[in-house]
């Protein structure tokens, strides 16, 4: 349990390289669960490594419990980390890998064994304890890497995509275990993931990064429902939010945006009044696939909900849902349909647009219009 403050942090690899991290400021409370997300190569692992003390700081400070630790040795920071690349000790068995840190802490043998058993059970690797890392499958290696961190009780956990190579079922289980662990120990956790569900369900706060910069920091709901800009909006959520460029017009029913489906029919969607000042101009409408669905009688009567009859493009059944693509204003828009209700490609279907949850962006600055 510790606070972690990152202040004006810069990182540059090599002397003349570009800034890999630029002016990162994050203040993490004791016991907080922070999730880092961002496109591949945006600097998440670099940031983690710097928190751990494994990469040199180009500029700025990292403070643990309000003490600047820039010059503190990694081993003295009391941090446990799961590496993206696993970094298992190739010369040791799985048991040895997990035991290593405990031995260094001079934990007694019986206690150590208990701890190893516990962790191994949790990660379902009991039967692998005597294997060498080279004899494990990818997911098994990843779990050992997890085990190495979980056996310890440090001040801060750093998890760098710890579940990426696990199957969905195991991932759900692990996610629950991590949640429980966090609730039980209240350790501060920084966690990198590309999994939407993990990010939404585990995080106290999510930090969205891009190109070494911090774009938004907020609760999962904030990030999801109230994104600061188009990038964040488009990045969180899968399938991603749909962006429709349309011009705002004043009509009898209030503000509307006009859409063209498949270059044939023209439709209009209601827009909230706060866009009044954009009348005559163009905005980007951000609407998530789950807001474009079959007509749902319950919602139909809500304000800003409209039903359009559109021609379906490609259908992608994903199991629980079927994602249908519709071309609007020359862009493919994904809608989420119920797989139980038959729909065919090319067919015209009534789709309900719930514009009440839609968000709007300035097409030039890509910033939210609030």
């Amino acid at each position: 349990m510790a606070t972690l403050d990152i202040k004006q942090l810069y990182k540059r690899y090599g002397k003349n390289g570009p800034n890999t991290l630029e002016d990162i400021n994050i203040s993490i409370e004791s016991g907080e669960f922070l999730i880092l997300v961002g496109p591949s190569g945006c600097g998440k692992s670099t940031l983690m490594n710097m928190i751990a003390g494994l990469e040199e700081i180009t500029a700025g400070d990292i403070c643990i419990d309000s003490k600047v630790v820039n010059d503190v040795d990694p081993k003295d920071r009391d941090i446990a980390m799961v590496f993206q690349s696993y970094a298992l000790y190739p010369n040791m068995t799985v048991r040895g890998n997990i035991e290593f840190a405990l031995k260094i802490q001079k934990m007694d043998k019986p206690e150590r064994d208990k701890e190893i058993t516990r962790v191994a059970q949790l990660l379902q690797i009991e039967h692998l304890l005597n294997r060498k890392p080279s004899q494990l499958s990818g997911g098994q290696q990843q779990r050992v890497s997890m085990g190495r961190a979980l056996a310890r009780q440090p001040k801060i956990y750093l998890f760098d995509e710890p579940l990426s190579n696990l199957d969905a079922k195991l991932r759900v289980e692990m996610r629950h275990e991590i949640k429980k662990l966090h609730q039980r120990l209240g350790t501060t956790i920084v966690y990198v993931t590309h999994d939407q569900i993990e990010a939404m369900t585990l995080a106290d706060r999510i930090a969205v990064m891009k190109d070494g910069q911090l774009l938004q920091l907020g609760s999962p709901a904030e990030i999801y429902n109230d994104p600061a800009d188009m990038f964040v909006a488009g990045f969180m959520g899968s399938p991603a939010m749909n962006f429709l460029h349309c011009s705002v017009e004043q009509s009898d029913q209030g503000l509307v945006g006009s859409l063209v489906c498949d270059q044939q029919q023209s439709h209009q969607i209601p827009l909230p009044e706060r866009l009044a000042k954009y009348a005559g101009k163009s905005v980007v409408v951000g609407i998530r696939p789950e807001q474009i669905t079959h007509v749902n009688p319950y919602k139909q009567d809500k304000a800003l909900v409209t039903t359009l009859n559109l021609k379906l493009g490609v259908l992608e059944p994903t199991g629980p849902d079927t994602i249908a693509l519709v071309t609007l204003n020359d862009k493919e828009i994904s809608c989420r349909l119920d797989p139980d209700k038959p729909a065919v490609m090319g067919e015209n279907l009534d789709l309900m647009f719930d514009m009440s949850s839609a968000v709007f962006f300035d097409p030039n600055s890509e910033q939210r219009i609030r």
Binding site: S85, L88, P133, G138, Q141
Partner: protein, 284 residues
């Protein structure tokens, strides 16, 4: 960046201390080489020369007797190069190939062969002098540079194979697998993937082989021809005299001169002791 913490100071201290210890014999040799013979006979071996004379160096290089000719060691360098360069090159290459096969293209018996080969490095070279002489004689290679190169290759092979095999077992097998799938054959993988990541071990191998071959006296004297004697034979002739006058200053100078090419190799090789040649190759 590198701060001088107490730990680092200690490391520097140890490193420098050992430098001093290692350098002591060289210091003795250098001092001696600059002394006159009476100075050597009379003085303390770590005392500075009464007068610094460079004559011994010139003599060792150009006019000391190594037989009926008294032209110093300079003429022998070429002989040594003619023998060492091909021998080092061939044995390193074969060793690398062998190591590569034993580590990554295992077949039944390859390990057994490796074990047998290793055992081979323990046979005293004196044992093979005569049978090898007979063999070389049969093939008309007796007392030729080719024969000498052959002998060095054969007995160097064992070590180069050992070095490379033990290096290559640590290279992730995935790399070879990936290359195989990319359509690379045996040699392509070797030359394009394995050799480029073997720099440090190639250097170790060259350091070892070059030193062994350059400094070898036994094979050099026994299998070389009278006009292709390597520098060690010259050095030996210059230094070793049973009933003649000993000129220690010349001996020391000659020894240092004879070692220059090897030292040069060490300095050059140093560049290739680079870090992390397999880093970032495979996950886990």
């Amino acid at each position: 960046m590198t701060k001088f913490s107490p730990g680092r100071l200690f490391i520097y201290f140890i490193l420098i201390l050992f430098c001093a210890i290692y350098l002591m014999p060289l210091l003795v040799m250098l001092l001696t080489s600059f002394k006159t013979l009476p100075d050597i006979r009379g003085g303390n071996l770590l005392s500075l020369p009464e007068v610094w004379v460079f004559e011994a160096w010139f003599k060792a290089w150009g006019s000391a007797c190594t037989g009926v000719t008294c032209e110093g060691v300079k003429g022998y360098f070429w002989n040594s190069f003619k023998m060492a360069i091909p021998a080092v090159f061939i044995s390193t290459l074969i060793g690398a190939l062998n190591g590569y096969v034993i580590a990554h293209w295992r077949f039944k018996g390859s390990n057994l062969f490796f074990a047998l080969m290793l055992f081979g490095c323990f046979i005293p070279f004196q044992v093979i002098l005569l049978p090898m002489a007979a063999t070389l004689g049969k093939f008309g290679l007796a007392n030729t540079t080719t024969g000498l190169v052959f002998v060095h290759v054969v007995y160097g092979l064992v070590f180069t194979t050992l070095f490379f095999r033990n290096f290559y077992v640590s290279v992730p097998g995935e790399l070879v697998k990936a290359a195989k799938l990319d359509g690379a054959g045996f040699f392509t993988i070797f030359f394009k993937i394995m050799l480029p990541i073997s720099k440090p071990i190639i250097m170790v191998c060259i350091i070892w082989q070059f030193t062994q071959i350059w400094n070898d006296f036994l094979f050099g004297v026994v299998y070389s021809g009278s006009d292709s004697q390597p520098i060690t034979v010259a050095l030996n002739n210059l230094v070793n005299t049973s009933t003649g006058v000993k000129e220690y200053n010349v001996d020391m100078a000659a020894a240092i001169i004879a070692a220059l090419p090897t030292l040069f190799v060490y300095v050059v090789a140093g560049k290739y002791f680079v870090r992390g040649l397999t880093a970032g190759s495979v996950k886990g």
